[in-house]
């Protein structure tokens, strides 16, 4: 008998059918991953299991018995614990307070027994082999540690089923391997671990089985020996995807449009000297903490510079604000599209023209509505943004991949000479990813210089003409992408400016 049986679960939000008749069997002592494009329904399914949403129809059976989860507490009672993508720790409280929130040991009058609380916390952490001071304020911990606190919070409730929703997006590689060790330990002790991820490599590494969802439907489950990347992708997308990446630049002799000489920003990056040529894609790879985004901020005028210089077309410039950078022809597509890139409550048209108000749209200081409409339609077509009549729809109502395309359109409309894109395909489904890649290459072919910051090696290798590797704020090396392998790039990323391990 399965530990968890999902039977005919369906869910709609308004007229949007998010899950259709999902039926899957999940066993104890396995790590079971879920993968699917954005909007496939994975997160929703997990939230239903975790009691945050309620299904419209269908049932859940735990060990053969039907269960109803109206709220997260019901789910806990059934032994289900969920660790969300967005951290839900109260960072103004201590580790101990967070782990035992609402379950603190108290005396008869309601006063908290601090000693016992702290001791219990230490015990829980020891169960997974970590030493911690229970009275540490959570906000002083790294993101990875905060996530561990959240996991311990869930584990301390003796869960039989642990759900992790995209747990690795904000973790360093070391933290990820610690997490995986932990998950394996849990698996040994019989816990069912449900793991949602976008990252094929991780899923192959850690899962016993993987289930694929597409457009709210359950496509199939693969055993460990069946997990071929191409198979999984095919199931996710419904078609074969070969030639994932468009061909590289034909020649590499464009002129240098942007150059930094020993650029430094205190405590962020040091001595970065980089030459960016027209018509090329420069990939910037590095581990978390390498300073790439900070470097990009300086190039974009969003942050200052403490040393060195930036030269645009041979002339030194001081970029005091993004506004100035845009005037100079530099654009920056933000890492976090929802927080710093898009205006989710405004319509697509307003978003597309947001960076071009000054010089493309203005006529006597007034906005040309017709032209805005025209430009928007053009990009909707070029980037294949769906639905195609979305010009007047709010960005919020689009899927992640389409939102990213709108963000890209905004920067294309600003007609930059140099475009920096920061994690351009994060949280984007495979279909849209492909499209964005081909657009970036087309841009480069038309003469624009692109700097692509990415943490996905395949993307870096697939798209870049040259790869700049950064580590802890220093530029380690710039490699020409001529038969470059992932191992070589990673090796450089781990070395500190020349040391050998």
């Amino acid at each position: 008998m399965s530990l968890l049986e999902i039977k005919n679960i369906s869910k709609s939000f308004g007229s949007n059918k998010v899950l259709s008749n999902i039926s899957i069997f999940l066993e104890k002592g396995e790590i079971h991953s879920f993968i699917g494009e954005n909007g496939a329904g994975k997160s929703t399914l997990m939230k239903i299991i975790g009691g945050i949403y309620q299904a419209d129809s269908g049932q859940f059976l735990i060990n053969g018995k039907e269960v109803h989860m109206q709220n997260p507490m019901d789910a806990f009672r059934e032994g289900i614990g969920i660790v969300h993508q967005e951290l839900s720790v109260a960072d103004n409280m201590t580790v101990a307070q967070n782990v035992f929130v609402n379950r603190e040991p108290t005396n008869a009058l309601g006063f908290i027994k601090w000693k016992q609380l702290n001791e219990d916390t230490v015990t829980e952490f020891k169960k997974i082999g970590i030493d911690i001071k229970p009275d540490t304020l959570v906000k002083t911990l790294s993101v990875g540690m905060q996530q561990v606190v959240e996991i311990v919070k869930v584990l301390s409730r003796d869960v039989k089923i642990l759900i992790l929703d995209e747990p690795t997006s904000a973790l360093s590689d070391k933290e990820i391997s610690n997490l995986f060790e932990l998950l394996l330990k849990l698996k040994e002790s019989g816990t069912l671990v449900i793991f949602i991820s976008h990252k094929l490599k991780e899923i192959k590494q850690i899962s016993d089985r993987v289930s694929v969802l597409r457009d709210g439907n359950f496509i199939g489950t693969l055993e460990k020996d069946e997990m071929e990347e191409s198979t999984i992708i095919r199931m996710m997308v419904g078609r074969e995807i070969d030639n994932l990446y468009p061909p590289k630049a034909k020649s590499r002799d464009g002129e240098i449009v942007l150059e930094t000489r020993r650029l430094t920003r205190n405590e962020k990056y040091l001595d970065v000297s980089l030459k960016i040529k027209k018509g090329e894609i420069t990939g910037m790879f590095g581990l978390v903490g390498s300073g790439r985004t900070e470097f990009a901020y300086s190039l974009f005028g969003a942050d200052g510079v403490d040393g060195g210089e930036i030269l645009l077309n041979g002339r030194p410039v001081r970029l005091k604000s993004p506004k100035m950078a845009i005037r100079y022809g530099i654009g920056y597509l933000s890492e976090d599209r929802k927080r710093t890139g898009l205006f989710v409550g405004m319509d697509v048209k307003d978003n597309v023209v947001a960076s071009s108000l000054d010089f493309i749209m203005a006529k006597l200081g007034f906005l040309d509505d017709k032209k805005s409409e025209q430009v928007t339609e053009e990009y909707i077509g070029q980037l294949e943004i769906r639905p195609s009549n979305c010009s007047s729809l709010t960005v919020r109502s689009l899927s992640g991949g389409n939102q990213q395309k709108v963000l890209l359109a905004k920067w294309l409309a600003a007609k930059p000479e140099v475009l920096i894109v920061d994690e351009p395909t994060r949280g984007v489904d495979v279909g849209a990813k492909c499209k964005i890649h081909s657009i970036l290459r087309a841009l480069a072919d038309s003469g624009i210089a692109i700097i692509m910051i990415s943490s996905e090696l395949p993307e870096i290798l697939g798209l870049s003409d040259q790869v700049a590797v950064m580590h802890e704020g220093r530029l380690i090396t710039v490699l020409e992408n001529d038969g470059l392998t992932e191992e070589t790039v990673l090796a450089h990323a781990f070395l500190k400016g020349g040391d050998n391990q």
Partner: protein
């Protein structure tokens, strides 16, 4: 969810408001008859409306920016006192007006700077400005009225042009002007962006700080204009002018379609909101007679307006 696009910024909300206003007007006319729809009473209502119109328009800017300005009533009083005191001491009318408006802009700019550069919540910043200015009013006047104003100045507020009170002409003219530039002006559009997501606006090359300062300055400037209208109309400056006006302004703007979350607002709606609030106040006084309830009514209308605003925003915000 599709939004209907029209050439003039008239939203569905505005049409609803027009209907409501017409209904209220009709029903009360029937009940109270001549007392209500007489030219004197209506003229009265609209006369007092001119200040609210200006303040509410200013508040619309600030609400679009995602902020709030509680100091408008106090700015009105303070600028009124500055101008009347200058006039009382014999300063040239035009010069006094210019100085007064400059003070208004300065107050608004200070609000804007504190909100944008020092990251202080608009509520707190403008609350502090409000009490500072109000206190300053009393300090300057020691509670006395400022009188002795030249006739040329008083004519502004009390005069008629083509049979219509100057106050109404000036305030409506300003409102129409704002309404027109609002659809096309780049700076105004930027306020929507900044109100929606100030960080994204900055990274999109929009000068958030400048836009915010401009918005608050505009709001206080309009309060300054209202001060001119009020002091010339009453022929005096008083430290208690404008008390409680900020509530009516916020209520009117929110009823008109501005959202407390920022990123939304239009002047036609605001104007209709002002009319509705003024009508309700007038009706209440007619039935009850005690002006003490006026502030309470404003409070309740504000609550209702904001409630509907939030229900509407929440409906749209279902996560994807």
């Amino acid at each position: 969810m599709q939004k209907r696009k029209r050439r003039i910024p008239v939203s569905g909300r505005s049409i609803t408001l027009i209907i409501i206003i017409a209904l209220v007007f009709g029903v009360i006319s029937i009940i109270k008859g001549e007392l209500f729809y007489s030219l004197t009473n209506i003229s009265n209502v609209f006369s007092n409306l001119s200040y609210d119109l200006l303040l509410a328009c200013g508040m619309t800017f600030v609400l679009i920016l995602g902020g709030i300005d509680l100091s408008v009533g106090s700015v009105l009083a303070f600028v009124g006192i500055v101008i009347t005191m200058l006039l009382n001491r014999g300063l040239n009318v035009a010069l006094a007006i210019v100085i007064g408006l400059a003070v208004a802009v300065l107050a608004g700019a200070i609000n804007g700077v504190i909100v944008s550069k020092f990251n202080v919540a608009p509520f707190v910043a403008t609350l502090a400005m409000m009490s500072s200015l109000r206190g300053a009013c009393y300090v300057l006047t020691s509670g006395f009225f400022v009188v002795g104003l030249p006739d040329s100045y008083v004519a502004i507020g009390r005069g008629y042009t083509l049979g219509i009170p100057n106050k109404i002409i000036i305030s409506i003219a300003i409102m129409i002007f704002l309404g027109i530039i609002s659809t096309r002006s780049r700076v105004f559009k930027q306020m929507f962006y900044v109100g929606q997501n100030a960080n994204a606006a900055y990274l999109s090359g929009i000068s958030s700080a400048r836009t915010i300062i401009l918005g608050y300055a505009m709001c206080s400037l309009l309060a300054g204009v209202a001060a001119i209208l009020m002091t010339s109309s009453f022929a005096m400056g008083q430290a208690s002018f404008g008390t409680g006006f900020e509530m009516r302004a916020i209520a009117a703007a929110v009823i008109g379609g501005a959202s407390m979350n920022g990123g939304e607002g239009n002047f036609v709606g605001t104007a209709l909101g002002v009319i509705l609030v003024a009508l309700v106040n007038n009706v209440f006084i007619m039935f009850n007679g005690s002006p003490n309830w006026s502030t309470a009514i404003s409070g309740i209308m504000l609550l209702v307006a904001v409630a509907f605003d939030l229900i509407r925003t929440r409906k749209r915000g279902e996560s994807v």
